[in-house]
Symmetry: C2
Subunit: 125 residues, 2 copies
DNA sequence: TAACTGTACTAACACGCATAGTACAGTTGT
DNA sequence: ACAACTGTACTATGCGTGTTAGTACAGTTA
């Protein structure tokens, strides 16, 4: 269910966070669904339990997951909303990236084509 | 001429690189123009000379600047081309960001508007 | 010659990521 | 009640990287 890229510069715990968010965004996981336990996932990914806990506790802080001692870690009711709002904030990043591309000489057409591609391609991974 | 954000997670030397690239992209600096000396810039930004050197030597590796012992560090002839090609590669980043936004529930219209904004707004900073 | 330039090198420190190990408390099924 | 699971907390350690500090050397220029 999860996959870690050991060569990536982004920390393992962040990779996990991103993947959980992606699963929710894709509708593969919904509010109430249980995430793998800290220990089982740590074994599956061959990482330390503390690393998983860090990811889960951060997901908890964000309002994307809810950890319940003794029971497990579950997707929170607020998850979808949180991600939707986070997405809106990323629009700023998009604006800046487009500006940056335009500055470095990439044509308007190339940019618009890339956007179109991103919008049309349904899903992979 | 340069500004460092100490709170940012991106290393100081990378911030310098980005700003040099931006200056070239904006046409503010052109091939042959001299960058501040390692020592003077280190004082101006209150960072270690080694940090500046790291930035300059990386800019040299990229083909954006050319360091000449005894003389200084200058914008390379190849700078514009290098940045133009780098920009094209960032189109992939753009595609992925758009896909990510679409996934998290941001509408096509919102995305296209952000792109339009990025394309239209002339320049600031 | 003096004052500037880039370059090279070692040592040290700080911080964050990750590991290792242990322990405690709540929940669940038998 | 017990065993087996859950999340949580805490300390200690190792490691990589970014940064600082200090010194030194070589080329350029006035």
């Amino acid at each position: 269910m999860f996959r870690i890229d050991g060569m990536s510069r982004t920390p393992v715990y962040e990779q996990i966070i991103e993947q959980v968010e992606k699963l929710v965004s894709l509708g593969i996981m919904k509010a109430g669904d249980q995430l793998p336990s800290v220990r089982s996932l740590s074994i599956e990914l061959s990482v330390n339990p503390n690393t998983i806990q860090k990811a889960y506790s951060e997901l908890d802080s964000k309002g994307i997951a809810k950890s319940v001692p003794g029971k497990g870690c579950f997707i929170a009711e607020s998850a979808e909303d949180v991600l939707k709002n986070a997405g809106r904030k990323k629009l700023t990043t998009l604006r800046e990236l487009v500006k940056e591309l335009a500055l470095s000489g990439v044509t308007k057409e190339e940019i618009e084509k890339a956007v179109e591609d991103g919008l049309s391609i349904p899903v992979e991974n």
